[in-house]
């Protein structure tokens, strides 16, 4: 078998949905839209944890925001029956991720835990992945950002600060996942226990709308949420197989 054949064979196996059954973890987030209040504590928690930059009003006006999780708002109806619905939107960590196949340098790839990972120092900034992402959750560093001193003292030493020309996005707080795995190993355990690791957004959510865990573990909180009749994937018809599961908002008056 030539190198190319082996590569193609490996790639095919690797890309096959359901790969996670073979591995230890399949990290999953569930978002209960009936609980979500749109308060955005998750947004600031993410910024604090992941060193996402403060880009300034001018850059925001150009649509160059850098918040890895955002709240989308959709109005429905007109006054006095107007309604506003919130939905937190972040990288869906798709199992069949459209962003991965288009990267010319494999800067974005799928890791063993089912995470859609981004290698910052491999990224050459073609921005193809952002174009292909149907959820629009990839953020490009158009500038080198700086923090007015001494704001930089807050930066999380466990997370790198990205440079101009690099694409970035939600990692499910991979630094926290790694830490939890290390702790489990130190304790002589093979697996991380349910609830032992939480991304910053899940950790802070005041209405407990967000939950995080391993769907390979049938007893985990998210596994139970997956079997909820309200569970659905956003833009399911695209068959991206997201790792973020939403639970439908309940319309009490719909009967």
């Amino acid at each position: 078998m030539s190198f190319l054949d082996r590569f193609i064979d490996g790639w095919r196996r690797y890309r096959r949905p359901g790969y996670y059954e073979k591995f230890d973890y399949a990290w999953t987030m569930s978002i209960d839209l009936d609980r979500c209040t749109g308060c955005q504590a998750c947004v600031t928690a993410c910024q604090a944890e992941n060193n996402t930059p403060i880009v300034g009003e001018k850059e925001l006006a150009k649509g160059r925001e850098m918040q890895w999780i955002r709240i989308e708002r959709y109005w429905e109806g007109e006054y006095p029956n107007a309604k506003l619905k919130f939905i937190p939107m972040l990288c869906q960590q798709c199992d069949a991720a459209p962003c991965e196949t288009v990267c010319p340098v494999s800067a974005t790839y799928h890791n063993q835990d089912g995470l859609n990972a981004q290698v910052y120092n491999r990224c050459i900034g073609t921005r193809s992945c952002a174009v292909y992402c149907p959820y629009e959750v990839r953020y490009f560093n158009y500038n080198n950002h700086h923090w007015d001193s001494p704001l930089e003292q807050q930066l999380n030493p466990d997370v790198t600060v990205r440079e101009k020309g690099v694409m970035e996005k939600c990692t499910f707080c991979v630094q926290r996942i790694r830490q939890a795995k290390d702790h489990a190993k130190d304790d002589g355990r093979r697996r991380v226990k349910d609830g032992e690791v939480q991304p910053a957004c899940v950790q802070t959510c005041p209405s407990e709308a967000l939950a995080f865990g391993d769907r390979n573990d049938p007893g985990s909180k998210v596994s139970q949420k997956l079997s909820d009749p309200r569970a659905y994937h956003v833009l399911d018809e695209l068959n991206t197989l997201p790792s973020v599961v939403y639970l439908k908002k309940v319309d009490a008056d719909a009967g």
Binding site: R35, C39, A48, A82, L84, S149, A209
Partner: protein, 751 residues
């Protein structure tokens, strides 16, 4: 090494040859290598390179008093999270609480004492000795001194009290713009209870909120959100939420039913619902007949006509509230900032009382006394006490003012004359950490530590239904040449020769002394072990509840003669009611200098950085304005300009503006950004509570012909059939855990 980085070094090598470059490098690095490489020659005990240390403390970003756990690395604060043991936050935290780090590391924090240089009119840095000397000198010769601060809770209040007591004539005054004065007075008049009750949102099955944006900044948003989530999908019947308000708030968006009502008529609607419940036989107390006659004027036809709420809706809410038990009605925010604010609070208490929601789980529970001897609420003053201060200052009867961490120049309306009055006071000293609008008018600034650098303790307000106290401790060493506010007061008193007036050497001593008494009342083991475990836990609780039975006398309601709201400005010239609203991200304006809060999109409109005015789509069309058109909003007392945001869920004769922007000071991020609606509200008060009726001003709206780039973070505002946010029928619910209130593990005495 400090002046040469790797790139610079390589440049030198390339340009001047290896010898020169390397020689220069060697000379640079030979100077003081150790100074640069090892910042801590003898590191503190808890300092371990690469290992995070967590401290429990209390959040100081708003008065809710959430418990926090702060992650520090190498002596620097990195992340704030909720303290899981603290019953208010239960491990959760809001966006503003997260942004506490940007208060600590704010580039515009005051870093040393400042003295006003009379000749140049600007501040110059000074030493603490100079600063304290100046303040002590001014206070010794002053006849009348006012000590004005934010609400101070816990034992720190004792230092303020003793400091004021040591001066010949001093008044203590605590003022917070967002304080719910009307609710306190309303509760006192209804039930004779001074503290706010616990609103048990987690266990309620039917919540009617009259204007209280309980999910976005109202008194204890994190705890209310926890309750909301539990009530929504918590293993029991899903709670039904109704929100009554003229402009849809975040809580309104999350409610099952949003009911627009004329501004200031929320109390009328509550009484109308109560009247319906009594008429339907939902109240069976002995004084039923008295209630029937008391509530008779609030029949459905008149209430519907005065509130603008369809009578079917009133009837449906009354039926839902009567039959779905337990129910809960709350009020606050703009609804209690009318001239009838206290009446609204009493009306909502009445509704709770008639429906039988007082003293039951899922309704209103009263808070028992705190474990701490002092809660410091005694010196709290409403807007009216600041208005009195203005009068006295203009008479020249106030010689000196000490101000700490409250910014009335920003939050008081221009109509109040506070700024002018401040100029008349001969000596003003500020102990605030930032150069806010009030501090900028001081003669001396003695900057205080931020809450992450100070000792303190707290009784959460509102409480959580049982007896709780919390302690806050410094999580990092002070960044600058600042001092804890208590220590500054102690130093000033000592300098004036009153060192015996304050018996403690430092704030820490005072706090520790206070907890020694708590320990003496019921702690086991020795105090040092108790103190250690207390600091580790961050919170202390006793399972004491207040189960007193209260009754509400119909005469309290019968005595509310004028329940109709009145407004400043006539309807012909000023056709719109101005609805200012507060939010979690800006609070009373303190969020405006935090970059994270500026970049956090507004929850409803997704606008970042600036301010805007919300106008109903139909009204906007009538006015001929589009989104982004700059309009002038004028009241009888001034005008501000703001770009239009066409808001689908606001009454046609109401315009809304967020509070918090429009600073002229407060640092580089806040300065000269947006406009402040509070500057144009009329200085009228609710007579019963003396609080500012900041939601009772009429305005006119006129296009200026200019346009502004309104930066919003939302893309398309409609789903366009993409079915992104899916909904399901009302019957759906899923299993989960039950309400958490009773099962909170609070570490008490065990080490």
């Amino acid at each position: 090494m400090s002046n040469v980085d790797r790139r610079e070094f390589l440049k030198l090598v390339g340009a001047g040859g290896v010898g020169v470059g390397a020689g220069f490098m060697l000379a640079e690095s030979a100077k003081h290598p150790l100074e640069h490489l090892i910042p801590y020659a003898v590191p503190p005990e808890e300092f371990s390179s690469g290992v995070a240390t967590w401290y429990n403390s209390v959040c100081g970003m708003c008065p809710a008093g959430c418990g926090i756990s702060v992650r520090t690395r190498e002596g620097r604060a990195k992340k704030i999270e909720g303290n899981p043991s603290h019953p208010v936050s239960q491990g959760r935290l809001c966006a503003l609480g997260q942004a506490g780090l940007q208060v600590l590391y704010n580039p515009d924090r005051l870093s040393s004492p400042l003295l006003l240089d009379g000749a140049s009119g600007s501040f110059r840095p000074a030493t603490w000795v100079e600063g304290v000397d100046k303040v002590a000198g001014a206070l010794s010769s002053a006849r009348n001194v006012v000590v004005l601060s934010r609400g101070i809770r816990g034992h720190l209040a004792q230092i303020f009290e003793r400091f004021a007591g040591s001066l010949s004539s001093a008044n203590l005054l605590q003022y917070d713009f967002a304080h719910e004065d009307a609710l306190y007075v309303g509760n006192r008049e209804s039930f004779g209870i001074d503290r706010l009750p616990y609103y048990d949102i987690a266990n309620t099955r039917y919540l009617v909120s009259f204007g209280a944006d309980y999910l976005n900044g109202w008194i204890s948003p994190v705890h209310h959100s926890l309750g909301f989530g539990t009530s929504r999908q918590g293993g029991h019947d899903r709670g039904y939420f109704v929100q009554v308000e003229p402009r849809m708030s975040v809580s309104g968006a999350s409610a099952d039913r949003w009911v627009p009502a004329n501004p200031g008529t929320e109390g009328l609607l509550a009484l109308g619902i109560a009247q319906q419940i009594v008429a339907m036989g939902g109240y069976s107390g002995a004084d039923r007949d008295a209630w029937t006659s008391t509530l008779a004027p609030y029949d459905i036809a008149s209430v519907s006509q005065r509130t603008g709420v369809n009578d079917d809706i009133v009837r449906q809410i009354a039926e839902g509230f009567m039959h779905t038990r337990p129910g809960l009605a709350i009020t606050g925010g703009a609804a209690t900032r009318h001239v009838n604010g206290v009446n609204t609070a009493i009306a909502v208490n009445t509704l709770n009382y008639i429906a039988g929601n007082v003293g039951i789980e899922g309704g209103i529970l009263f808070n028992p006394a705190a474990p701490l001897a002092t809660t410091g609420e005694e010196n709290r003053g409403a807007y009216e006490s600041l208005a009195n201060l203005v009068t006295h200052a203009e008479n020249g009867s106030i010689d000196a003012l000490l101000v700490y961490d409250t910014d009335p120049v920003f939050t008081m309306p221009a109509d109040s004359g506070f700024r002018e009055a401040l100029e008349k006071i001969p000596f003003v000293a500020s102990l605030s950490s930032f150069m806010d609008e009030t501090t900028a008018m001081a003669d001396v600034v003695l900057p205080s530590h931020t809450y992450l650098e100070s000792w303190g303790d707290d009784v959460p307000e509102p409480g959580v239904g049982f007896s709780v106290g919390a302690v806050s401790q410094p999580v990092v060493a002070p960044l600058y040449n600042t001092q804890a506010v208590g220590d500054t007061l102690i130093a000033i008193a000592a300098h004036m020769g009153h060192s015996d007036a304050i018996p403690w050497a430092s704030t820490e001593e005072c706090i520790k002394d206070g907890w020694r008494q708590v320990h003496a009342q019921g702690g086991s083991g020795d105090f040092d072990a108790f103190w250690r475990s207390l600091l580790q836990a961050g919170v202390y609780g006793r399972n004491i509840r207040d189960t007193r039975a209260v009754s509400l006398d119909p005469t309290v309601v019968a005595g509310m003669d004028a329940n109709e709201p009145t407004f400043s400005g006539n309807a012909a010239t000023y056709p719109f009611t101005l609805h200012p609203y507060t939010s979690m991200r800006m609070h009373d304006g303190r969020g405006a200098n935090l970059p994270w809060m500026l970049e956090l999109p507004d929850a409803m409109t997704s606008v970042v950085y600036s301010s805007w005015v919300e106008i109903n789509p139909v009204t906007a069309e009538e006015l001929g304005v589009r989104q982004g058109d700059v309009v002038e909003i004028s009241s009888e007392h001034g005008s501000v300009t703001a770009p239009v945001y066409v808001y689908p869920a606001i009454m046609p004769d109401v315009v809304a503006m967020p509070v918090g922007q429009g600073h002229s000071k407060l640092g580089r991020y806040a300065k000269n950004r947006g406009s402040n609606p509070l500057s144009i509200v009329a200085a009228q008060t609710d007579a019963k509570s003396g609080s500012l009726a900041w939601a009772a001003t009429r305005v006119s709206v006129a296009p200026t012909g200019q346009r502004a780039k309104l930066v919003t973070m939302s893309g398309e505002s409609r789903e366009l059939g993409r079915n992104i946010v899916q909904t399901t029928g009302g019957a759906a619910g899923s299993a989960g855990h039950s309400a958490k209130l009773n099962s909170i593990p609070i570490k008490v005495e065990a080490v």
